[in-house]
């Protein structure tokens, strides 16, 4: 079969980023830089909610682009470029999470107090109280509430939500990115949205902020 007849060709035709990546495959450094500039915000936006700190998110984003460069010679355009890129993001984030879990295990064993520190909301509230105009406070509070709500999702749910909400990916693309089935993505997103609703509802109705990241995940049945 001629190369143009293969289904692979359609991604080259439709996706300019696939064409850029093919240039990277041919050792075009400028094309690599262009791709990086196009995607650095998007990659970092997802990793910020998967990594424990902004600096670690940036380190992971660099690792993603390093892997893109390393993988250039074996790149084949059999998906949209963003799908391929976020598959790498998913792998990098998963590996980092596993490493972090191992480290935390070691730290917990060696910690004399055994106390678990809950950062985020409480520290933020103490740091900002009484020093900012109320409108700014409200906006910052909303951000922090939503950020805290995201921590109630498990990492796979969070990844699915971030890809769906911020990357606008279809269920099929999310499934390909996360190496799972469309049905599993449906289920991940349904449970994630239920958790978000349950965590955020008290804030929306009574102004009660979510305090910790122990998600409940049960849906109050809707009688039909």
């Amino acid at each position: 079969m001629a190369p143009a007849d293969r289904p692979l060709g359609r991604y080259e035709l439709r996706d300019p980023d696939v064409r850029l990546m093919l240039q990277v495959r041919d050792d075009d450094a400028a094309a690599f830089e262009e791709l990086m500039l196009r995607y650095q915000h998007r990659v970092l936006r997802v990793l910020e909610h998967l990594a424990p700190s902004p600096s670690e998110a940036e380190d992971l984003a660099q690792e993603v682009f390093l892997r893109v460069f390393r993988a250039r010679k074996s790149y084949t355009p059999d998906a949209k470029f963003s799908t391929w890129l976020f598959t790498i993001v998913h792998h990098v984030a998963s590996n980092a999470r596993r490493k972090r879990a191992n480290r935390q295990e070691v730290q917990l064993v060696s910690s004399p107090s055994g106390q678990v520190e809950l950062g985020g909301m409480d520290q933020w509230a103490q740091a900002t109280s009484g020093v900012m105009p109320s409108r700014v406070m409200a906006r910052l509070e909303m951000r922090e509430v939503v950020r805290a709500a995201l921590t109630h999702l498990n990492p796979r749910q969070r990844m699915a939500v971030l890809l769906n909400k911020f990357e606008g990916m279809s269920y099929a693309d999310i499934a390909q990115t996360m190496g799972t089935s469309v049905q599993a993505v449906k289920s991940l997103l349904a449970r994630a949205r239920l958790t978000l609703k349950e965590v955020l509802e008290p804030y929306l109705s009574q102004g009660r902020r979510p305090r910790d990241s122990s998600g409940t995940g049960r849906w109050t049945p809707v009688p039909s």
Partner: protein, 172 residues
């Protein structure tokens, strides 16, 4: 532990509602959800809350990429590449390694000379532009003049600047 049929049904309805909101539900099931939405205020309320909490995600802070992110990433990539080349060099027999080093040196020299050539060409263009700047600033007047004789008259009266021929890049 087994899940009751009622719980399964709730879960299935939730999955369908969310897929419907995302435009990912098959047409037949989408119609079923629409019928439910039309007839059941509690389902309407549930969908409203799901939508409301989803929209709150728009309030997450904008991502700020540090100024040096691209530069440090390129440095990281170059360092990685250099390590790969060194590792490859180490795995080569000694004679071939020498040829490799020579080749790498020649490539570096070539890159340097190209850079010097491009840089000096760019400098020439900049110098030329600066020299012709007074003429460019008066271009509209020159165009209005229409003839060389008129321009010469204007120069004689000192109403237009004359580029210094001593620094002209086109000087023979």
């Amino acid at each position: 532990m087994t899940t009751s049929p009622a719980a399964n049904s709730d879960e299935s309805l939730l999955t369908d509602l969310v897929a419907y909101l995302d435009g990912e539900l098959e047409p037949q099931r989408a119609r079923r959800v629409e019928q439910l939405l039309f007839s059941d205020p509690k389902v309407q309320e549930e969908v409203r809350k799901l939508e409301q909490s989803w929209e709150l995600l728009d309030h997450l802070p904008q991502t700020v990429v540090s100024d040096n992110f691209a530069r440090t990433t390129v440095e990281l990539v170059l360092e990685d590449l250099s390590q790969q080349i060194q590792a490859r060099q180490r795995s080569l027999p000694r004679g071939r390694r020498r040829w490799g080093l020579l080749l790498a040196g020649l490539m570096a020299l070539g890159s340097f000379l190209t850079w010097v050539a491009v840089d000096s060409l760019w400098m020439n263009r900049e110098t030329q532009f600066l020299q012709q700047l007074p003429v460019l600033e008066q271009l509209e007047k020159y165009e209005e003049a229409g003839s060389v004789e008129f321009l010469q008259e204007m120069v004689r009266r000192g109403q237009v600047p004359v580029p210094d021929p001593a620094v002209s890049p086109h000087r023979p």
